[in-house]
Amino acid sequence: MTSGIEIVLSVRNICKSFGAKRILTDCSMDVKRGEMKVLIGPSGAGKSTFLHSINCLVPPDSGDILLEGRPLDRSNKKALCAFRMQVGMIFQDFNLFDHLSARENVAIALRKVRGMGRDAAAHRADEELARVGLARQAALYPAQLSGGQKQRVAIARALAMDPKVILLDEPTSALDPELVGEVLSVIRDLAADGMTMIMATHQMDFARALASEILFMEKGRIIERGTPEALLADGSGTRTRDFCTRLLDMGAQAGHD
């Protein structure tokens, strides 16, 4: 519970209801610098809502969010924009800006939010696109890119803002199976570079290999948490292991919904 610089993002007791329906109950986590937290759990468990509530795209009803120890004042719009600048977000369905080329997609937030000049922003955008292997696609529009390329542009767009942490909401779920690998390999490189990330995913092999901690969610609660080794060990008897076994039993569909 220290507020030292080591903890980048701290989320405490997030609750959220839509009408009478309780979606999130007391979800908490502390994310240390360079960690990758992986959220898993059945569809409708609240993983996506939890990620969206961290940067208040879905404003939580109660709970605290602290970035590097400083609490976020959600009612202060300016503070909220400044907070979101530092917290990247990757969506399941990419959400690229349809009217902008890949380069402009990355550059626009640099220009309009961070106030960078046009040339400097374009230069930085090209660097980030090169980092995700899309240097040659910079001038193409979203409609001209494959799903995997779109998601890599989205990652470049988030990276360009120099975020302190990136939230990834099932980044490969909307992709054709043959395109999943290129996106996962970019995320793997980010993890190797020490990027702090929170990711919801059904890619269990990926989670097992890279997660610092797995959080298993069900019915809006985090019901288990621990290292992949602890949660997924044979005979550990955890809900997490049970869930993963069922995912694998689904055969060809496993890890892709």
Partner: protein, 222 residues
């Protein structure tokens, strides 16, 4: 049979004079009306509820009352409230108010068709609501609304002929004078019809070029 002297000495000089006034009505009314339509459309789509209601009421009023009546109100009724207009000013004001109401309807539809995901993505990057609308939503909505808005401009060109009702001597006003002086209604209004047809043709060409210029690969196909 054709009286060339009538055409070259009487009719065409009058119509050309009227044409300049018509253009001086149509060009500013379509540009300001399009801008006003975007602003009004944004207010009606994204504004706080009081502003939405105000915008909706404004649009309902201006779409519900004939333009001829609006022109009369602007020219004859507003002076009773201490607002005076020249004929040209009254016509231009009415056209801007009316066309922006129609444009806002097209723009609002286009604004609401922009996927919510893009708005969330912009906010996740730290855009304010205003920046999101300005840089993400409006550029897409304007592209999507351009064909319908162009259609409204074509209408505007033709309903600009109502300006003669408030004694603004545009194309139609000049034509009426020549026609009632010479009783050559057929020739005069045939010529006026060709003038409007020419204006609409040129406007359509310009609008097509604009659409071409702002076209983006794959955009608007979903």
């Amino acid at each position: 049979m054709i009286d060339t002297a009538f055409f070259s000495l009487e009719l065409l000089p009058a119509l050309n004079r009227g044409l300049l006034v018509s253009l001086a009505l149509i060009i500013p009314a379509s540009v300001i009306g399009f801008g006003g339509g975007i602003a009004l459309g944004c207010a009606r789509a994204f504004g706080p509820s009081w502003l939405r209601r105000l915008g909706n009421a404004y649009t309902a009023l201006l779409r519900g009352v004939p333009l001829a009546v609006q022109l009369m109100m602007t020219y004859y009724a507003l002076p009773k409230l201490g607002i005076y207009f020249e004929p040209y000013g009254a016509a231009l004001t009415s056209f801007i108010l009316c066309t922006s109401a129609y444009q806002s309807e097209y723009v609002r539809g286009a604004l609401l068709s922009i996927r919510q995901g893009q708005i969330r993505a912009a906010q996740a990057l730290g855009f304010t609501t205003f920046q999101t609308i300005l840089w993400i939503v409006v550029p897409q909505a304007a592209r999507r609304a351009l064909p319908s808005c162009g259609n409204e401009i074509v209408y505007l060109i033709k309903y600009s002929s109502l300006a003669y009702l408030v004694t603004c001597m545009e194309l139609m006003g000049e034509a009426k004078v020549v026609a009632s002086d010479t009783f050559r209604f057929t020739e005069v209004f045939l010529a006026v019809g060709l003038y409007y047809l020419a204006m609409v043709t040129v406007a359509s060409w310009i609008l097509n070029r604009l659409e071409e210029h702002y076209r983006i690969p794959g955009f608007g196909n979903h």
